[in-house]
């Protein structure tokens, strides 16, 4: 059977009539079936995907197919898709069925993409290893004793193991970039507000972004440009026009690139990751780019700032799961209060409850100013500094993660230890700027390194072009 690793390959086969959309879907279904033990999919829409493939094949014959005809997409379990289950990998949304479709998903469907299933993740996207799922961890296809990263672990592995062409993920503090790095695939977190959040389960609303996992920059750019842009159902989404990212993938000229001295001095930075990054800097210099080390003393404060703000926002966002209108309701309740408490305690997992408790604390009357307001102030400082830096330098580069993919179960005892996996990804989330992780070689155990590249607000086009050049 033909193998497909990118949408370009699929399109070539379709154009040359070597394969139909149905063949493409059957190829991915066979792959999914063969690699079930990776636990990437929570649900496969097999019959539906086949039926849709047949319809799209007819559209192709009639010359009426959309731009994504033949692209097979997996959805992280945080996106509404009408008539389909949605659970955020949590017990509390048991049997929930979406009553409408997220804007980003609808836009892909409108261009004839085929949705093949729902992908495993950390519960409510809270985690860095995909071990917080009510459905068990996802395994890294490169080494099945290692985590795939999180929270979009299923999405990363689905692309890594060729179970779909591209996968959607959400990134609040690194949930696309970190697993992309751990699995050796491409993952972008666009500028905050670039893609409508309508139909995305809310976690931390001032951080949540929607992005794409792919094997090629071209696929990533195409999917993002179709999803991005103005939407009547999200008043925060940017009304700026969306460039045709996938058409301008050549980077010309020499870039002025910054890296942070603090990155290399970070305590948690693994030696091989450090060396890989130093080699990358040398390579960039050899290629004629201007690379400069800059000071960014605020770097170490990005992570604590992030944890104060996201726990606050999530404690508020997750108050909707109360057992009244949808989801799990505890059978052991006598009155309203015990219904709320028991449903939530039995339905939410440990990490989700920990974050709700923390968020409740930092928002409580006595501590609000000392923690929440303080973090909002530091966030402004970090955002301004990042923006200044990206005005004088075209790109900011750093390792995506301080280590490569770690062993399953190795960081589950201490939550703080797990939080450090996001050390380098939260900066872009706190600032709101776009950031991409691209594969950058492998360590001595064969686990992938990720290189993270950031650009200024709404500079996705430049980010894609530069990344594409780096990968050539």
């Amino acid at each position: 059977m033909k193998r497909f690793r990118s949408f370009a390959q699929i399109q070539k086969s379709l154009n040359e009539k070597n394969a139909s959309c149905l063949d493409v879907v059957n190829y991915y279904l066979a792959q999914i079936n063969q690699r079930k033990h990776l636990n990437a999919f929570l649900e496969v829409f097999d019959q539906e995907a086949k039926d849709r493939a047949v319809q799209i094949d007819q559209k192709i014959q009639a010359g009426k197919a959309g731009r994504l005809a033949g692209m097979v997409v997996g959805l992280k379990d945080v996106f509404c898709y009408q008539g389909h289950k949605l659970q955020a990998a949590s017990k509390i949304l048991e049997d929930f069925e979406s009553q409408f479709t997220a804007t980003c998903v609808q836009r892909l469907l409108d261009e004839d993409a085929i949705i093949i299933g729902r992908l495993n993740c950390d519960e409510f996207a809270m985690g860095s290893s995909n071990e917080n799922s009510a459905f068990g961890p996802v395994l890294n296809a490169e080494n099945e004793n290692r985590v795939p990263g999180g929270s979009s672990g299923g999405s990363a592995v689905a692309v890594q193991a060729n179970l779909c062409t591209v996968a959607l993920g959400s990134d609040t503090g690194g949930s696309i970039r970190q697993p992309a790095a751990f699995c050796g695939v491409i993952g972008i977190k666009p500028t905050y507000s670039r893609v409508s959040r309508y139909g995305l389960l809310a976690y931390a609303s001032s951080f949540d972004t929607i992005g794409v996992f792919s094997n090629t920059i071209e696929d990533n750019a195409l999917a993002l440009e179709i999803m991005a842009g103005k939407d009547d159902f999200d008043s925060t989404v940017s009304s700026r026009p969306v460039p045709e990212y996938h058409k301008k993938l050549g980077f010309e000229g020499k870039a002025k690139i910054a890296y942070l001295k603090e990155t290399l001095e970070s305590e948690g930075l693994n030696d091989e990751v450090r060396q890989n990054f130093i080699d990358t800097i040398d390579r960039l210099k050899e290629e004629g780019h201007e690379v400069e080390a800059v000071d960014f003393p605020l770097l170490k404060y990005a992570l604590p700032t992030y944890y104060i703000l996201i726990t606050a926002e999530s404690s508020s966002n997750l108050s909707r799961y109360d057992g009244v209108r949808y989801g799990y309701r505890s059978p052991n309740t006598l009155n309203m209060e015990s219904m709320y408490k028991k449903s939530r305690s039995e339905g939410f997992g440990e990490e989700v409850q920990r974050r709700i408790m923390l968020g409740t604390f930092v928002l409580s009357a006595s501590y609000y100013d000392a923690f929440y307001t303080k973090a909002q102030k530091v966030r402004r400082l970090i955002k301004n500094k990042v923006q200044d830096l990206l005005e004088t330098h075209g790109f900011l580069v750093m390792p995506t993660t301080p280590t490569t993919a770690f062993e399953l179960g190795s960081h589950t005892q201490n939550p703080l230890e797990m939080y450090l996996a996001d050390l380098f990804t939260v900066q872009a989330s706190v600032a709101g700027v776009p950031s991409i992780s691209i594969p950058n070689g492998k360590d001595s155990d064969g686990m992938p390194f990720g290189l993270q590249i950031m650009a200024n607000f709404f500079e996705e086009e430049k980010l894609y072009a530069f990344s594409n050049t780096m990968l050539k």
Binding site: S206, V324, R354, S364, Q376, V378, L381, P415
Partner: protein
């Protein structure tokens, strides 16, 4: 940052969570550790800095006040754990 048992239970109540007795000490320890760690923000001088409350670049997004994109009644009730013909059902809360 010290979290005592009272604070822990008050927080759990505010968050409408019910901590199991055996989970109390672990949760207390985690909260203390994490809060102590985030307190490093106090090292930064934020005098005169305006807290940031909105990350969007849009201002005053208006639309006309028309009813659209409604969820039909039966769809809204579809996922209810308990319902009757037209309403969500909850335990009795008024005597």
């Amino acid at each position: 940052m010290k979290i005592d048992k009272d604070t822990l239970h008050k927080l759990a109540h505010l968050a409408r969570l019910e901590l199991r007795e055996e989970d109390g000490p672990g949760m207390m320890k985690d909260l203390e550790e994490i809060l102590t760690w985030v307190e490093q923000l106090n090292e930064i001088d934020t005098e005169g800095v305006e807290p940031i409350t909105n990350m969007s670049f849009e201002t005053n997004v208006f639309r006309s006040d028309e009813v659209k994109n409604q969820l039909p009644h039966d769809s809204a009730l579809k996922n209810a754990p308990k319902k009757d013909e037209g309403f969500f059902r909850v335990p009795k809360f008024l005597d």
